[in-house]
């Protein structure tokens, strides 16, 4: 039992570390003195930095070499992320594209799509967004209503709305799950498309959250024209293609745990700064409970890595780590606000931002309730809840819903 690198991994780590030593002065400064402030400048600088990371082989570590990646495994990806964090520089801007959507295109896309989209995605020249969730389709993702209609010339026309779309405000493309046939059961009538965000009929609107900032967007599609080559993974195969993306999302979440900055050392440092709080039994007890669970997640991550190293793919139980992290961070924010008082909620406080961000994060990447359902069924083998939508054409479901309302 060890947490050490193998000789090959150590060699790779040294290689990444020396590249970062050489180039880190070129990275954009996002915090502290001299930090960039203008949002457009930040994005431009981070895109350029992603391009440099890609040239240095620090982006798309697990992508096959033929698409500009390094052809390495998830362990090397983690080593690379650790070294980027250690160097104190930003990682790639388009983690969603490179981590989830690119791999989906690699697995399901056509040769034309691969050669057209993957290079610019990897280098940050074209940022991507994930257009899956809708106002009425989140946990029940297969209920998406955004409609793509086939035209006589083989092209498509797209109408509908997506939501919770990170990075859409500066994205060039989105990977979009649409309904192409409403007369078959809902999982069967779906198709995945590549959609240009600057296309006619596409509107991106920022969605402000509790913090007042807009980190997500709503994206509207009004009779948007797509050519036949926009289909990814075949017409009617959208659900299977979406599952590929969601599997990569699980890997990202399973390995990304502490990357969100919700770790016991950070919270302990905050409490340690108050000489009364650090001796208060009640504060200590809460800090101890929260920290124990967050430490556990760190080692759950190492267990996941061990499994990946043996060629196993993380299962849905990785979702439990997300539940632990989010709830632990919520309790930590609450505790820190109790200790610091109203100052913890000041506009420029890191805690105010965290406290505002977490209630939404509880539902991001799958609500806590749906994660617990999935894990209860797939991991514990508990029977599913009876479903009223099995085998019923989507159009019929919709008319039932309309009648009930």
């Amino acid at each position: 039992m060890d947490l050490d690198d193998t000789p090959e991994q150590a060699t790779y780590r040294t290689k990444v570390r020396s590249w970062l030593e050489e180039h880190k002065s070129e990275a954009p400064v996002l915090q502290g003195p001299g930090a960039l402030e203008d949002e457009d400048e930040i994005i431009a600088a981070r895109r350029a930095w992603q391009g440099k990371l890609a040239e240095g082989g620090l982006a798309g570590v697990t992508w096959p070499k033929e698409y500009g990646g390094q052809g390495l495994g998830p362990i090397e990806q983690v080593i690379c992320s650790q070294e980027i964090a250690r160097a104190g520089v930003p990682g790639i801007l388009d983690a969603i594209g490179v981590g989830m959507l690119g791999p989906t295109i690699i697995a399901n896309g056509t040769d034309e799509q691969k050669s057209r989209y993957l290079g610019p995605m990897l280098h940050g020249d074209e940022v991507w967004c994930q257009l899956f969730s809708e106002p009425a389709a989140g946990s029940d993702l297969a209920a998406v209503q955004t409609r793509a209609r086939l035209q006589e010339d083989g092209s498509w026309r797209l109408t509908g709305q997506k939501v919770w779309t990170t990075n859409a405000q500066f994205a060039a493309y989105g990977l979009l799950l649409a309904r192409t046939d409403a007369d078959v059961p809902k999982h069967k009538g779906l198709t995945m498309f590549v959609v240009p965000i600057d296309g006619a009929g596409v509107t991106v609107r920022g969605l402000r959250q509790i913090s007042g900032e807009a980190e997500f967007n709503e994206v509207f599609f009004d009779d948007v024209a797509l050519d036949a080559g926009a289909v990814v993974g075949g017409v009617g195969n959208g659900w299977g293609t979406a599952l590929t993306t969601l599997m990569y999302e699980r890997v990202t979440i399973g390995l990304g745990g502490e990357g969100m900055g919700y770790n016991s050392n950070r919270f302990a440092a905050a409490i340690a700064s108050d000489k009364h709080a650090r001796r208060d039994r009640n504060v200590r007890h809460q800090l101890g409970e929260i920290s124990s669970e967050l430490l556990a997640v760190r080692f759950t991550g190492y267990r996941t890595l061990t499994a990946l190293q043996k060629g196993q793919i993380p299962g849905p139980e990785a979702g439990l780590a997300k539940v632990t992290i989010v709830n632990g961070a919520i309790k930590a924010g609450d505790l820190i606000a109790d200790v610091f008082g109203p100052d913890a909620l000041a506009d420029d406080s890191e805690w105010s931002y965290m406290i505002s961000f977490l209630p939404g994060l509880k539902s991001a990447g799958g609500t806590e309730e749906i994660l617990r359902n999935t894990i209860g069924e797939r991991v514990l083998g508990l029977p599913p809840e009876p479903r009223l939508d099995k085998g019923i054409p989507f159009s019929e479901l919709r008319s039932k819903e309309a009648a009930a309302a």
């Binding site: 039992m1 060890d2 947490l3 050490d4 690198d5 991994q9 362990i75 016991s264 050392n265 302990a268 440092a269 409490i271 340690a272 650090r278 001796r279 039994r281 504060v283 200590r284 007890h285 800090l287 101890g288 409970e289 920290s291 124990s292 669970e293 430490l295 556990a296 997640v297 760190r298 080692f299 759950t300 190492y302 267990r303 890595l305 061990t306 190293q309 043996k310 139980e317 439990l320 539940v323 632990t324 309730e369 617990r372 359902n373 894990i375 209860g376 069924e377 991991v379 514990l380 083998g381 508990l382 029977p383 599913p384 809840e385 009876p386």
Partner: protein, 381 residues
């Protein structure tokens, strides 16, 4: 990166599961609660045959020379069947003795299990409380450690004091703990049969947990030349072991509850299909997985990062203890009224959980220690 079990560890675990499966531990636990303590099988011979008493004793002294994580695997198996094997007391005692050259002659007998030792829990200082203390017989006020007189020419001292709720003390031949001599902690080994040593057997709530109140009146003891870190390490080791035992119990409690949730039908469907039941079982799984991960942390830290072992072991104790409480309560609710009756095993898990949480300083003290370790780290950074 490798946090998987070695082939030897898998074998150790499977062998333990096999050996313990020959006994009806649950039935025995229930009968013992009814007053028939003779119903509890004596599992010490099983432990001796398997080599468990010598797990942490070096090969040089006839032990197996294995790591804390290996011992945790065995404790986990004991926890799975609520078995009463006197390892929680024995193993931390052997860890101290193994670090004390003066005690070398005791080790072969303890490694074979011919003799049994019990660890007198002694809580080391932390960032708030500067002194060592023992578990009290009652209440929140910590008890003083036994006090030692001057060391004589043979390296012997006389001890006065008492330690309450010592795991596995009844029947142990050697008691190993910490005493204060001129305000400084020293390791001590006591022969239980010596004059001035009294071990009062006590049972509280869980018939499978052997406990003793130990009183020392001018009791003779051998001074152990183990370093102070070793004396403190035994406390943290005991936290890691009871954590492993608790996680073992959570595993089987969850298995039983999940099986029942699949078989039991209400309103025409298995109760496990309802979110209320499914989510509460998933919560047990979440806490179980967190506990397991912390067992790996503790097992790794003991060898790979000794300075982190107190943090890891106490975090494991904290999470495992809550997990067992949660698992036992969930087991009772999932089984409906039956889960709260004498016929079912759920009350046995519940009794195990509620007593375990209060032993060895109590689970809340472990939780507090996690905070203390992290706050100290934060100030040093």
């Amino acid at each position: 990166m490798n946090l998987s079990l070695s082939d030897e560890q898998v074998f150790l675990r499977e062998a333990a599961r096999g050996a313990l499966s020959r006994f009806k531990t649950f039935e025995a636990a229930r009968e013992a609660l009814d007053g028939d303590e003779s119903a509890l099988p004596d599992l010490w011979p099983v432990a001796c045959e398997a080599g468990w008493p010598g797990l942490l004793i070096s090969e040089e002294h006839d032990g197996a020379g294995l790591d804390v994580f290996d011992a945790m695997l065995v404790l986990g198996e004991c926890g799975r069947v609520l078995a009463s094997v006197e390892l929680l007391g024995h193993l931390p005692a052997t860890a101290i003795l193994g670090d004390a050259p003066a005690a070398a002659e005791l080790l072969p007998g303890l490694a074979s299990g011919e003799q049994r030792a019990a660890y007198l829990p002694a809580r080391p200082p932390d960032d708030v409380e500067g002194s060592w203390s023992a578990d009290p017989a009652h209440g929140l006020e910590r008890a003083a450690l036994a006090s030692a007189g001057a060391t004589d020419a043979d390296g012997r001292v006389r001890l006065n004091g008492s330690v309450a709720f010592v795991p596995d003390a009844p029947g142990a031949q050697v008691l190993v703990g910490v005493a204060l001599q001129d305000g400084r902690p020293i390791g001590v080994a006591i022969q239980a049969e010596d004059p001035g040593v009294t071990v009062e057997s006590v049972t509280r709530y869980d018939s499978t947990r052997s406990l003793g109140h130990v009183t020392l009146k001018d009791a003779p003891a051998t001074v152990l030349d183990a370093p102070e870190e070793s004396l403190a390490g035994a406390w943290h080791l005991a936290q890691a072991l009871i954590a492993a035992e608790s996680i073992g119990s959570v595993e089987t409690a969850l298995d039983v509850s999940v099986s029942y949730a699949k078989e039991r039908f209400t309103f025409g469907r298995a109760i496990g299909s309802y979110q209320a039941i499914k989510h509460s079982l998933t919560e047990v799984l979440r806490q179980l997985e967190n506990g397991r991960s912390l067992l790996y942390y503790a097992g790794w830290a003991r060898m790979g990062a000794p300075a982190e072992f107190p943090l890891a072991a106490n975090a494991a104790r904290s999470v495992a203890s809550r997990a067992l409480d949660q698992a036992a309560r969930t087991m009772i609710s999932v089984h409906g009224g039956t889960g709260a009756t004498w016929e079912h095993d759920a009350p046995l898990y519940f009794r195990r959980a509620e007593l375990s949480r209060r032993l060895l300083g109590g689970a809340s003290d472990a939780t507090d220690r996690v905070a203390g370790e992290l706050l100290t780290q934060a100030s040093a950074a």
